[in-house]
Amino acid sequence: MIEVEAFVKRYGDFVAVAGTSFCIPVGSVAALVGPNGAGKTTTIRTLCGILRPTAGRLRVAGADLAVDPLLVKQRTAYVPDDPPLFDTLTVWEHLQFIASAYRLTDWQGDGDGLLSRFSLSDKKNTLASELSRGMRQKVAIACAYLRSPDVLLLDEPMTGLDPPSIRILKDSIREQSQRGATVLVSSHLLSLVDDLCDFLVLIRQGRVLFSGPLEEARAQFGGASRSLEEVFFRLTGQEEPNAPEADELTPGEQASGDD
């Protein structure tokens, strides 16, 4: 479960996240969606313990970020957008590093399985510097999966992947959710979100415009098409100047929107 309460993040005078609150249930695959500069990456980086919140309370997988950040890190896996790898380590050595840092035992079988699943078996002993963008992405995802985290935070996970890899990743995300992990996916690809996620957190300019089940969002803001695209444009007020702004929505429409 991910619980975020009145979360504020400031960089000097700039407010990246302005008091957001949302709660993602255990086992959900949630989408964190919003226009550029909405505060998605800041939110994800704070949830995994890289950034310190300026204010607010964040609980990840039952651990309070302010009280026990190490426990949060133990239970969370984060895959950044365009993940950096150690150029001097091989693919297998990345898994080994993760195994030793998270004190995993008997992980080799799982490691081989993950490499095989992501078609990386023949790259096992290849230096990361020699991998393509998509392969690097897959190595980072394999590192995240290796330790079966309670919460998975994925920032634009499909970028650079080929269609077969996208399908494998989508299946694997569903499997992670089925075993009880909470998955938060930040993405601009609304079709991916539509296909994969069952929960939506929509933010703009550091404020949550909607958080709740995706079906609910479709029903309330999806119009006749009930599409996520419609939900996005209606709530963010982008592209469609005549569409009602979030502030202009009726109280009924705002009921599910936090903040």
Partner: protein
Amino acid sequence: MIDPALTHLMRMLMRAGFRQAWRLIKRPSGAFFTLFMLAMVGFGLMPTVVMTLTAEQQPPSAFARVVADSIPLLMYIAAAAMVATNSGEALLELKPAELQFVLAGPFTNSHILSYRLLTLAFGWLPISVFFAVFMLPHLGSFLGGLLGISSGGILITMLAFQYTLLKPRLSPGVLRAIRLAALTSVAVILIEAAGRVSGVDESYSITVVSQAINGGVAARVLSLPFRPFATVMTNDLGIELLIGQLISLGLIAAITVSCYRTNRGFSELAVEGVARRQKKLERIRGGNVYGFSTRNAERSQLLPAFGWLGGVGPVAWSQVTSAVRRTGRLVPGIVVLGIVAAIAAAAVLQLFPDTIPDTGRTYAVPIALAASAYLGFLLSITSQTGFAASPRLLTWYQTLPIRPMAIATGMVSGTATLLIAIQLALCLPALVISSQGVAASLSMLFAGAAFSVAFATMTNFIAAVTGLRPMPGGTPDVFQGARALVFMMILGLSMTPILLLAVGSAGVAGAVFGFFWTYCSIAAGLAMLAGLPALWWYAGTRFVDSDSVGDES
């Protein structure tokens, strides 16, 4: 010749460059860098200004004559080296953005070539001004120096450029022949020079040696096309300078016309150049400053896992593996050289026991330690290990469920391993020839190792606390050199208290137990190590609490 859109782009880029520089200067850190750089340049130019003001009426110095004699030959060797090493390819490495806006734009090869040549010329001009000022006491006049240096540099660049443009039209055999000819001509000059220098009857002086090198037949013939540039640089304003400059311009014009007539494949070469540059930038951003060989992309595991060790183990393992791989064969090479040198030293001492003077044998280990400290400094500051790694890579460590102090302790291990390996390599022969006892030598080694750990700790500490890097990341800009100098200055200042404490402790140990190498070295080593845990704790906490990690800066 050049499209107005491209000149407009050049103007805009130049303005943007000044704007960026002004923005940096306005910030306190930028202002400090600027002042620092100005002070450095000022100190560098001070002797020149003083010499120029005081030596106005005096005849040219011996050094000035040496410079005048040597310039043509140096220019020839530079041009030959550029051809032999394919340096002209680097001149075609346009910026990645230029791929989209210039190479893919509605411009002919000639337009793009003009654009490239003009951007290179505008980059070379300020450097020529600097050199003209710097060498003013040894030049005929400032104007002559500026004209000679700038046009000489342009000619060498154009020659390399011409060779690169011709490469696609020439067969591999002809290319090999050209490169071989360039290398052979330099070898002939060197052999001739060696022969002439060894055959000199009078006692050696810089003038005699210079005359011997530059007076040879091969040297004079091959450097002939470059003589006008030396004439322009070293003659007073007058007819000789004018003629020299006209010949220089004629040569540049000829080679430039030739470049324009052979620029058919320029765009393709430039596209390859952009790709090369992009890869190079990505490599440097990733921390691979040395460009370690990736020819063999498959690697077997270098080291077994270190175990948990309170969280230090995993971090240390990744750091040591990265540091050793990143420096390629350098460290193992130095160790092998150290072993060979030690065996050779042992053999020499057996055969000729009095070869090495007593003083040298007494101070062999301290001298080796000092040399290894310097070499280690050069190597470690460029290897981007520990907290000096690229900010994005540090994300890995910030997400680990490991306590800050353990992270910081592990981060030191990469740099420390490099330093200690170099130390051992240089100290092996020193230990063989040292006249000190085993205990004294080993205690000195301990002090050296303690210095290495302290140095590695301080490098990490500065990177974690200030965000400065010995090798700044990101796209190279004019301020990177200044930032590296500031890092070194801060590092030097930060090491001062540790070194003072070490010296003080050694003094106290000497006063109490007697001034023996053993006691003093152990005391100094322990003193250097004493405060490090506090530094690890603070650096680790600052790193984990830092908000800047993960963003490229």
